[in-house]
């Protein structure tokens, strides 16, 4: 399954995967201390259609290794609903990485 394989392939994988494979753009939001670490609250990413939220986070930790230790104490959302890390992503999705909430 492409979604499961794509993020482990080299950066040049686009030339290797079947033409049916698609790259899609998703919107990515960071909050709280993650925003400070990432240096911005909003970004976008190109990922394989169907790649999971877990893969998306891994792509950002490759860029910002200091994000990695927070993985265990984060939840994710997709389109404003809490979402499992295995949730597959599609074009135009809005993903957010959310530290423990402290409103009130």
């Amino acid at each position: 399954m492409i979604a499961a394989l794509a993020p482990t392939l080299p950066a040049s994988y686009n030339s290797l995967v079947p033409v049916t494979s698609q790259t899609v753009r998703v919107k990515v939001l960071f909050f709280g201390r993650l925003k400070e670490i990432a240096g911005r609250g909003e970004d976008s990413a190109e990922i394989a259609e169907g790649a999971s939220i877990e893969h998306l986070f891994a792509a950002f930790t490759a860029q910002h290794p200091e994000l990695a230790p927070f993985r265990a104490s984060l939840v994710a959302s997709r389109n404003q609903e809490f979402a499992a890390w295995s949730t597959p992503l599609h074009a135009g999705d809005e993903v957010a990485f959310l530290p423990p909430v402290s409103g009130g």
Partner: protein
């Protein structure tokens, strides 16, 4: 979740919360009780004096989750109206950060619903506060919202 009753008032604001206005908003002739929760900025945290707090939110999702809470307490308790307001931005000591008002014909439902609402808000609404002290600032310890179960079959809701 169903949409909250149109008589409810659920919002985020960068201005001071007018508690009296929210109480007036929820109370009606058929109500025998209004229970409120006034969450305010405390002057200390973990033994240190606090200078002020900065609140930020994932605003669209926070509002959706606050509306979900209103819908949930309407479903669970025989209440009449709900107001939930959360403030964002910089708050000074003593200011109201969150205000909840629940009206009902009889007091037990209003007490129970108000308690349920603030407890659920603190666990599920994506809002964060940063606490400023002399010489530094920290993100407040928070609660991790419950995550949906991991689904190996990768089936997701839309």
């Amino acid at each position: 979740m169903t949409a909250p009753s149109h008589d409810d008032q659920i919002f985020l604001t960068r201005d001071a919360i007018d508690a009296a206005a929210l109480i007036r908003r929820v109370r009606a002739a058929e109500d025998g009780a209004v229970v409120t929760f006034d969450g305010c900025v405390r002057n200390h945290s973990h033994g240190r004096p606090t200078l002020y707090l900065d609140y930020e939110a994932y605003e669209s999702m926070a509002l959706a989750k606050m509306r979900d809470i209103a819908a949930e307490i309407h479903a669970k308790f025989p209440i009449h109206r709900v107001a939930i307001a959360h403030r964002l931005g910089r708050l000074q000591i003593g200011e109201t950060s969150v205000f909840i008002a629940v009206s009902s014909p009889h007091r037990p439902a209003a007490f129970d619903a108000c308690r349920f609402a603030i407890d659920t808000l603190k666990r599920t609404v994506p809002i964060w506060k940063k606490e400023y002290f002399e010489g530094g600032a920290v993100w407040a310890d928070g609660e991790l919202p419950p995550m949906p179960a991991e689904a190996p079959a990768a089936k997701t809701a839309s």
